[in-house]
């Protein structure tokens, strides 16, 4: 898209030279395709993507005794006229077959993971990783009074690589996590989110 046209002939000439095509290694495409076919590189399916809480499917487990107790409690509450919404917690959809809503015992696997780094002198710290398209502006860490920076990120089970970006310039791996070469002379940290035991 061209919006503001340059009118400086000198800059135009430089830009025209820089627009000339460049040559890549003839095997570049093959290298990329070989890299993506490594077993640890799997594109997430849309069905694996995090959903907002209101879009999640909740599984409700109710024992017969619990259902009876809950039903009795519900009737009691309604009879006393003290039913009210206490907070903004997810309104779980309970169909007629599930009985009253009690406690969700399973979700779609999303878990919060807290990323931490100690950097008392940092002015800002961002988190870049597979989970945010390596865009640090999406995940900014918060500093506590003791110089510990943290951010909690909702992740599905899987393995993710990441780095911290300190003061918009310095990229560092997390020294408390396993690390792997990033292919650019540095290292990425790796976090593994395991499925919850049910």
């Amino acid at each position: 898209m061209v919006t503001e046209r340059n009118v400086d002939p000198f800059i135009d000439e430089i830009a025209a030279e820089l627009r000339r095509p460049v040559r890549l290694d003839a095997r570049f495409d093959d290298r990329v395709m070989a890299a993506i076919e490594q077993p640890d590189v799997i594109p997430l399916r849309p069905s694996m993507m995090p959903r907002p809480w209101f879009g999640r499917r909740w599984t409700i487990s109710v024992t017969p005794v619990g259902a009876m107790a809950a039903a009795a409690s519900l009737v009691g509450l309604l009879a006393l006229g003290i039913w009210r919404v206490r907070d903004a917690a997810p309104q779980l959809a309970a169909d007629s077959a599930s009985g009253p809503v009690l406690t969700p015992v399973a979700d779609n696997g999303l878990q919060y993971h807290q990323f931490l780094i100690v950097a008392p002198n940092a002015r800002s710290i961002m988190l870049e990783g597979d989970f945010n398209d390596w865009d640090g502006s999406k995940t900014e860490l918060t500093r506590s009074s003791d110089g510990v920076w943290s951010a909690s990120v909702l992740l599905r089970p899987g393995q993710y690589q990441y780095q911290f970006v300190i003061d918009d310039t310095l990229r560092v791996a997390d020294d408390k996590a396993p690390r792997v070469p990033d292919g650019l002379g540095g290292e990425n940290s790796v976090v593994t989110i395991s499925p919850r035991a049910r």
Partner: protein, 189 residues
Amino acid sequence: MTLSRGLSIQDDSDAAVVARVLAGDSRAYAILVARYRAQFARYAVRMLGAREDAEEALQDAFVRGYRSLARCDDPERFGAWLFRILANRCRTAGTRRGRREKTFVRDELALLDAAEEHPAERNAWREEIQRALMRLDDDHREAFLLKHVEELGYDEIAELTGVGVSALKMRVKRACERLRVLLQEVHGD
């Protein structure tokens, strides 16, 4: 430059190819690689100055793009989405490189550009342009390339970099001024 669609390698839209990949046809990703490779390689080479660094960053961007493909909210604009990943990787590579090499080897530049006949003076001028470009601050070089070489609008650059339009205009302005000084020094004008 239109980031939403590159060379037409096949008739399939980006969204259709993305859907094929997500459905399990990983080889279809090669269509997207071929479609955007040349366009993005130019940016990476100009930004990083060395073909080897540029190829690493570009390959890394394509692999990260594949791995995160389901997070591409608008598959029809796959190119713009991937370009954002590439720009981030170029920034990372540039920061790492730091002062290690603000220059590049003359012979390497000869390999950068597609084969074509041109006089020695022209080649020398191109070398000086790339050399001057590499002497700019990374932020200024990025803004200059996105504005004047990739021909993006300031709003697009702002979306891509997360930097405000006003700051971007200042970076581009300073980059132009600095390039003028550096290149006029070469010519002794």
